[in-house]
Structures are given as C-alpha cells and as structure tokens.
C-alpha cells in the first residue's frame, strides 16, 4: 500500500507534464486517424479550400471545446447579462480582459498542438498548396520543372499527373518539406512565447514563490471543502423540507447565506498585498459582507452619485 501511495504521489506531482503529454499523444492519434480515414484530397481546383478546412476547422473546434471545459469561463460570464457591472466593475475594467486572456491562452494549447502535428505530417498542407492558383507561388515551385507542372500541380497529391515520376516525387517532397518547416516554426514560436509570458508573469507577481504555492494549495482545499459543505447543507435542507411536507409541520429555520453573499463570493478574486486574502470567501469572512457592498457603493457614489439598481 505504501509503495502504491509513493508511486501515486510521484505521478500526482508531475500531473501537468503528464496531462500535456497525454493531450499531445491524443492529438497525434486523432490527426493520424483523420489523415488516413477521412481525408481524401480532391485533386482539382478545390484542393486549396479542402486542405485549409482540414487544417483549421478541427483547430477551431478544439479552441471552442477548450473554452467550454475551462471553469473560469463560466465563473466570468455567469449572470453578466443581468448585471453587466459584474464583468466591468468600476475602477477595475481591465481585470476582465486579463482573465479572458488567461482563459484564451489555456484554450489555445490544443489547437496549436493540432496545427503543429498536422503541419509536421504534411498531408493537409501538401493538398492545400498544390491547389493554390497564385502565379508567383507557381513560378517559385515549378521553377526548374516542365510546363506540365503549372497545369497539373493539383494532381500531384494523388499521383495522377502525367509528369515523370522523379518530377512529381520531387514536387511532393518539396511541398512536404515546406509544411514541416512551417510546423517547426509554429512550435518554436509557441514555445518561445509561452516561456516569455510565463517569465514576465512570474517576475511581476506580487507574491513570493512560497506564498504562491500556499495560495494554490489553499484554492484546491477550499474547493474541496465547499463541495463537502454544499453536500452537508443540501442534505440538511432537503431532509427538513421533505419531513415538513410529509408531516405537515412548520419548518424550523436553517441559516443559509443571503443572495448578496452568494453574488459577492462568486466574484473573481485578485490578490491584494495589503490585505492578504486568499479567496473571495476568505475576504468576505474577514471583512464582512457589508464591507464589500459598502466599498462598491462608496466607489459608485464618488464617481456617479447614483444608487445601485
């Protein structure tokens, strides 16, 4: 048992790396399957559109799925139609864009993986570019080849052109080489950008590393505790309600947080180095719910001299 625990702990410590490797393997597998089963290059004037759709449509789908699966998206957007002030609070308008930017960067991982794997494979790009009608591009590719190249480039992907084998093979290899070089460029650019953004974000962090580690542990633990307490209170409340319904009695009072308390606890939290609150609930509990609404009222009063609706 002890050995099993140690092994589990080893894998849990590296769960980010394992998660990303698994995602990369899944993307590679998916791309191979699509490439072998679904993809049939038309070898006509439609090559360009067909190839581009296979290259970018799955990337778009993966981006949308990435947005769906990120819980921060729903935390950000829930209730914003009813109360737009929620996502653009006075005095902190940029916070929405900062959080949305973070969510987008997280969601972009899978599409970029798809694009790099598809470009390294070369099939989709080869089909797309063999159908490109641009005279300058055709001139560059068919430079040292026969006249047939200009007319029959789109048939090269299916090996149906009337050019000699060596010429069509070389054209295929050239297109694949271009695709793979583009793929490596995409990977390098993404890796550089992520290293630079992580560096900058880390450098400008208002909290030291160890406190940041503690903050992450606290967030995870608070989430677990919330679920447990939701379960507990939901059980208590439903038991009371059903008992009173069946026994036709008056219900005894159970104290639950007010609507405004739920609203305040669901807001997005940003760490303040003066107050050191690790979450909105921590802030609410230490400063009191009234403190937060008073703060907002005061801010509105100073700027708008209007009441909150």
């Amino acid at each position: 048992m002890d050995a099993f625990q140690t092994i589990l702990k080893f894998f849990m410590n590296r769960k980010t790396a394992i998660g990303y490797s698994f995602m990369a393997l899944l993307t590679m597998g998916g791309e191979r399957v699509f490439s072998l089963v679904a993809f049939r290059c038309p070898c006509s004037d439609e090559n360009f559109r067909y190839g581009l759709v296979f290259l970018f449509a799955p990337a778009l789908v993966l981006l949308v799925i990435g947005y769906f699966l990120n819980s921060k998206t729903w935390k950000l957007f829930t209730g914003c139609w009813v109360n737009p002030r929620k996502i653009f609070p006075r005095g902190n308008v940029c916070h929405f864009f900062y959080v949305f930017g973070q969510i987008t960067l997280n969601a972009l991982v899978a599409p970029v993986m798809w694009l790099s794997v598809a470009l390294l494979n070369g099939t989709f790009y080869e089909c797309a570019m063999s159908g490109l009608d641009d005279p300058a591009y055709l001139e560059a590719v068919c430079q040292t080849k026969s006249e047939k190249c200009f007319r029959e480039l789109h048939k090269v992907a299916c090996d149906k052109s009337s050019m000699p084998f060596s010429e069509s093979d070389e054209l295929k290899r050239t297109l694949q080489a271009q695709s793979q070089i583009l793929g490596w460029c995409v990977i390098v650019t993404t890796a550089l950008l992520s290293l630079l953004t992580t560096c900058c974000a880390s450098c400008q962090s208002k909290v030291s590393h160890l406190q940041l580690m503690f903050w992450r542990v606290y967030e995870g633990t608070e989430k677990e505790q919330l679920e447990q307490i939701f379960q507990l209170y939901a059980t208590k409340l439903s038991e009371r309600n059903l008992k009173c319904f069946f026994e036709n009695k008056e219900p005894e009072p159970i104290s639950l947080p007010a609507f405004q308390a739920w609203e305040d606890a669901s807001q997005l939290h940003s760490f303040s180095s003066s107050k050191q609150h690790y979450s909105m609930i921590h802030k609410l509990v230490e400063e009191g719910q009234k403190g937060i609404s008073e703060e907002r009222e005061t801010m509105l009063d100073l700027e708008d001299r209007r009441e909150i609706p």
């Binding site: 494979n121 390098v188 890796a191």
Partner: protein
C-alpha cells in the same frame, strides 16, 4: 512486497540520475521515430535548410521546455521585478550567474541528447550537408556541371553516395564522427565542471550531503504543513460563510504568516544557492519571528 519496497527505495535514492536517463531515452526514441516516419529529405536546393531545421530546431524547443519545466527557476524568478532592491547589484549578479549555470546545464540534457542521437543516425546531417556549399567545394573538384545536382540527390539514392565519395569520408561517416566527438566532449566538460564545483565548494562532502537531504526534507514537510494549514483555514472560512458568523468571533480564526515573512524565506541573497531553505526558514525561526504568526488572528 519486500522486493517492491527495495526497488522503490532504489528508485527514490537515485531519482535524479534515473530522471535524466529517462529523459535521454525518451528523446532518443522520439528522434528515431521522427527520423524514420516524419523526415523526408526533399533532395533539391532546400536540403540545407530542411536538414538544419530538423537537427537544430527540436533541440532548441527541448531547451525551452527544459527551462519551463525546471521548478527551481520559477522559485528564483517569482516576484523579482516587483521587489525593492533587497540586494546589492554585485551580489545579485554573482548569485544570478550561480543560479543560471546549473539551471542551463539541467535544461541542456535533452537538446544535447537529440543532437548526439541525430548525428549518430546521420539522416539529418547527410541531408543538410548535401546542400551546403562546403560539401560542393570538397566533392566537386572538377567543377562538373551537374555535380551539385548529383550531390542534392545523395540522401535519396544510396548508390550515388558510394560513387561520389569514394576518396573521402562519406557524409554519413562524417556525421557519426562528429556525433561521437560531441558525446566525448560533453562528458569531459561535465566531469571537469563537477570537479571544479566540488573543489571550490565552501563546505565538506558530508555537510554537503546533509544539506541536500535537509532541503529535500524541509520541502516535503513544508508541503504537508501548507496543506494542513490551508485545510484548517478553508474549513474555518467556509463554515463562517455558511453560518454567516461575524469575523469578530476571534477564537476560531487561524493564524497566517505575514507577506513580509513569506518574502523573507523566499529571499535570493545568499552565498550558496543550496542554502536558501537550510538557512532562511531556520534563521527566520531562530530570529524569533513568532510575533508575526499572530498577525492573522488580529
């Protein structure tokens, strides 16, 4: 069960070396897969660019990944822009170098493995060299008109390679020689730098060993204590939220270290990078910072 425990102990004791070996094996395996499945030399004027891309770009990507994955680098970097000058410039510079060099050395394991295995495999180098002007000067002595074209076709045609390079070393042989030379020089540099760092170490062998064990243990205990403290704090906060208690009922509040204390133990300025935890938390406790721990309760 006993055997499993013994095996596990062995793995834990040598986890650094095993970790690096695993990374090298994975890199070598990926290089072989790329070389056989993905790599198709175009056999035209684009050979040089294509071959160099496959040889060097994945190594660069592995270097960037090595930096990103290295936890210690983030420990050093977090918050350094927003802090006031806590160290003198010369101290910061020398400490930065002392931290950057081991970090780069660890990040360089995967890229150098990739380059070494790729050179031993010879596909990438052969493709790149067959398109380079240096090879043209070496092999095309008689300035034949189609010599360059023949050189481009070498990676796609084995018989051509034997024809052209009868007097000199073939491109594949060159690649493998360069690969072995690279491996030998990396090993030599690694040995020399380890010798130099041990020679210049300010503490004895046994104390160094003790410090390594202490910092590992302190890190583990820190994580356990942080989780315990976070659980207590989260329980108190969520209970208070649901029971809508006022924060003036103090007895249940959990003490939290202040932001200055956190900064103090994450501080960079030390003479020896391995001393950060061994000294910082130890000194912080010795210096009687216990008054700070009650701040959260007020």
């Amino acid at each position: 069960m006993n055997k499993l425990h013994e095996a596990l102990d062995f793995f834990i004791r040598h986890q650094t070396a095993l970790g690096f070996s695993a990374v090298s094996l994975l890199t070598a395996a990926s290089e072989r897969i790329f070389s056989s499945v993905v790599f198709r030399c175009p056999c035209n004027s684009g050979n040089m660019v294509y071959g160099s891309f496959f040889l060097l770009v994945p190594a660069f990507i592995l270097l960037l990944l090595g930096y990103m994955v290295n936890n210690r680098s983030w420990r050093r970097l977090t918050g350094c822009c927003s802090r006031e000058k806590e160290c003198s410039p010369s101290e910061t510079c020398s400490h930065f170098c002392r931290v950057l060099v081991p970090m780069t050395a660890r990040a360089l394991v995967a890229p150098l493995t990739w380059i070494a295995v790729a050179l031993l495999g010879a596909n990438f180098y052969e493709c790149a060299a067959s398109g380079s002007s240096l090879t043209k000067r070496l092999f095309c002595k008689h300035n034949e008109t189609d010599c360059q074209e023949k050189l481009f076709k070498i990676p796609c045609d084995e018989k051509l390679s034997a024809q052209i390079s009868s007097e000199r070393l073939s491109l594949q042989a060159q690649s493998q020689l360069i690969g072995w030379f690279l491996i030998a020089s990396i090993m030599t540099v690694a040995l020399i730098s380890k010798c130099v760092s041990r020679y210049c170490s300010s503490v004895s062998y046994l104390q160094l060993k003790y410090r390594k064990i202490y910092s590992k243990e302190e890190k583990e205990v820190f994580e356990i204590k942080a989780k315990e403290h976070a659980t207590k704090l989260a329980e108190t906060n969520t209970n208070c939220f649901f029971e809508t208690k006022k924060p003036t009922e103090k007895p249940t509040l959990v003490p939290v270290p202040s932001i200055e204390e956190w900064r103090e133990i994450s501080l960079l300025c030390t003479h020896d990078s391995q001393e950060v935890y061994y000294h910082k938390i130890f000194e912080t406790e010795k210096g009687g910072q216990s008054t700070g721990s009650n701040e959260g309760g007020q």
